[in-house]
């Protein structure tokens, strides 16, 4: 199966300020577009990891085909420089990470919600682990169970 290569396929960044320079280096290497930009929430260690997958259209022989960048962010105030200047393809995905995780992308040209209603979801970030999905199937559940939050 493809994807598991011996070449180092990821880079972990402890200090978010270093992200633009890492991104610039990767872009010069040939990684010209962002496939995915999102995050994973780790409430236990009070961290949010910004996870970026980049790939190349122009360089056929690039290895690995998909490179992963992980940036450790402080969960209480996740801020990171925007990558839109380096990779314009990140624009909408940064907006999504902003609404879903509350990550603020500094110098993003147009940072606002993209999928969620800005009024209903102001200050609420549904993909964080502490956001609990309310179960609505009251026909099957006792009222107490619904009150207690349903599925996590």
């Amino acid at each position: 199966m493809s994807g598991d290569s011996q070449v180092k396929a990821e880079f972990f960044i402890e200090n978010p300020a270093e992200l633009p320079s890492v991104a610039q280096t990767l872009k010069e290497k040939g990684y010209d577009h962002v496939i995915s930009l999102s995050a994973v929430d780790y409430p236990k260690s009070n961290e949010i990891h910004l996870v970026i997958h980049v790939s190349s259209y122009t360089k056929k022989d690039i290895e690995p085909k998909i490179f992963e960048i992980r940036v450790k962010l402080n969960r209480d105030n996740p801020r990171v420089p925007s990558l839109v200047k380096i990779w314009p393809s990140a624009e909408f995905q940064e907006r999504e990470a902003y609404e879903m995780f509350g990550i603020v992308f500094e110098n993003h040209p147009d940072l606002r919600n993209i999928l969620l209603d800005p009024e209903e979801f102001s200050g609420v970030h549904p993909l964080r682990k502490d956001y609990i999905v309310q179960v609505e199937d009251i026909m099957l559940k006792l009222k107490e169970e619904v009150k207690n939050g349903g599925n996590k």
Partner: protein, 402 residues
């Protein structure tokens, strides 16, 4: 955005200069699903375009964290039900990497057959919507009517027309009979013949052609910068196809070309889809000739079958899930799966912490990646060109909103 002022009675208004008009295109199903584009017009020239998507957001990434691994394949195929086989395949490929299991060869062939049938039907659907956006009812009826053949072929393989749930970890859910390949050949012959009709009646129809030629031109550099994917990228000269770059399924056993156009306009994107259907037909013919006999599920799982399950497999050629499937616990780790869907690359990133439910699933769909085009491509064109631009990029809102 301009300041909003309250003009009394709870009604607010937004002051704009006299030359500019703001037009809301949508959100009530402007064509292929609920979404809207907020346009700023100078006369009838579009000077700003702001796609407002999310009207059919179904919280799939969050929901997936509440469901068992196997149940999520049923959830995710609803991203784009007209291309469900390809969507599920990407998820299952990523899940198989976590589980460290590989499907047998016959299952790979069957997966690829379904993928290509899905691709043809997805392209026919996209072109049908495109045709009706341009006002060509004949095109719409033809593409949608002919798509039915592909949908029925998919039904013959999987048992359901759209939401196939065909891929399972380590294999596929059902086998096909020999007579299926005769029907497949019949269907392919028909579509092949019809492709010539489409060119005469739809693409080269002077009315249609004048509306799509040199409209919505996307240069190669811009397509790379915006990360555009799939047929839209290839119609702008990017020679990139996941089936070639990271072969999965049975693509390494077949010989096919990746069509590329350099014009990058709505016409090139239409020809691109037609050419891709031709290649899919060729791939399907090669696969149906060379498909090997053998099991359709990995040995590791077949060993767990009870005598009753074995009997169903012998008699009906279908898999009854072994009990282990309900409580799959992939070891801690992460994996990605990528597949070339009809509209472009779909990407799954899974993170497991050894539990029966995923810790995190990230999915990026081709329509979401292409939605950025709705912001940058219409600018400078006339309002009447918008349906041609929107239709030609084959944007599918439910897939983009996830």
């Amino acid at each position: 955005m301009e300041a909003i002022s309250d003009i009394g009675g709870g009604i607010s208004a937004r002051k704009i200069d006299d030359k500019t008009m703001i037009l809301f295109f949508g959100p009530q199903h402007p064509s292929s699903g609920h979404m809207r584009i907020i346009l700023k017009l100078d006369g009838d020239v579009i000077i700003e375009s702001d796609p407002d998507i999310g009207y059919v957001h179904r919280t799939m990434e969050k929901l997936s964290e509440t469901k068992e691994w196997i149940k999520n394949s049923v959830l995710f195929e609803r991203l784009a039900i007209l291309d469900a086989g390809n969507v599920t395949q990407a998820y299952i490929i990523a899940l198989e990497k976590l589980l460290g299991i590989e499907p047998p060869e016959r299952a790979l062939y069957l997966r690829t057959i379904l993928s290509e049938i899905n691709r043809i039907s997805s392209h026919l659907y996209g072109m049908g919507i495109f045709a009706i956006m341009l006002g060509s009812s004949t095109g719409y009826m033809w593409f949608f009517g002919d798509r039915e053949i592909m949908v029925q072929l998919a039904e013959r393989i999987t048992g359901s027309r759209l939401t196939h749930t065909y891929h399972i970890p380590g294999g596929v859910r059902r086998d096909v009979s020999k007579s299926f390949f005769e029907e497949l050949e019949k269907g392919l012959n028909y579509i092949e013949k019809r492709l010539r009709h489409y060119e005469i009646m739809f693409v080269n129809n002077p009315v249609v052609r004048s509306r799509i030629e040199n409209v919505g031109i996307l240069s190669r550099e811009r397509a790379i910068d915006l990360g555009v994917t799939g047929p839209n990228a290839r119609a702008s000269g990017i020679d990139f196809d996941v089936r070639v770059e990271e072969p999965y399924g049975a693509y390494s056993f077949v010989d096919f070309e990746v069509p590329v156009y350099k014009e990058g306009d709505a016409l090139a994107r239409t020809f691109q889809r037609m050419d891709e259907i031709r290649q899919s037909i060729s791939i399907l013919r090669q696969l149906s000739k060379s498909i090997p006999e053998g099991p359709i599920l990995n040995e590791k799982y077949l060993k767990l079958f009870t005598p009753a399950m074995k009997e169903v497999l012998e008699k009906d050629k279908r898999i009854k899930f072994p009990a282990i499937f309900t409580s799959l616990k992939p070891p801690s780790g992460k994996a990605y799966g990528r597949v070339e869907e009809g509209r472009g690359e779909i990407f799954f990133y899974l993170e497991s912490n050894g539990e029966p439910k995923p810790y995190r699933v990230r999915v990026v769909t081709p329509s979401f990646r292409n939605s950025i085009l709705l912001k940058y491509l219409p600018v400078g064109y006339r309002l009447a060109d918008l349906p041609a631009i929107y239709g030609s990029i084959d944007y599918f809102p439910p897939e983009a909103d996830r």
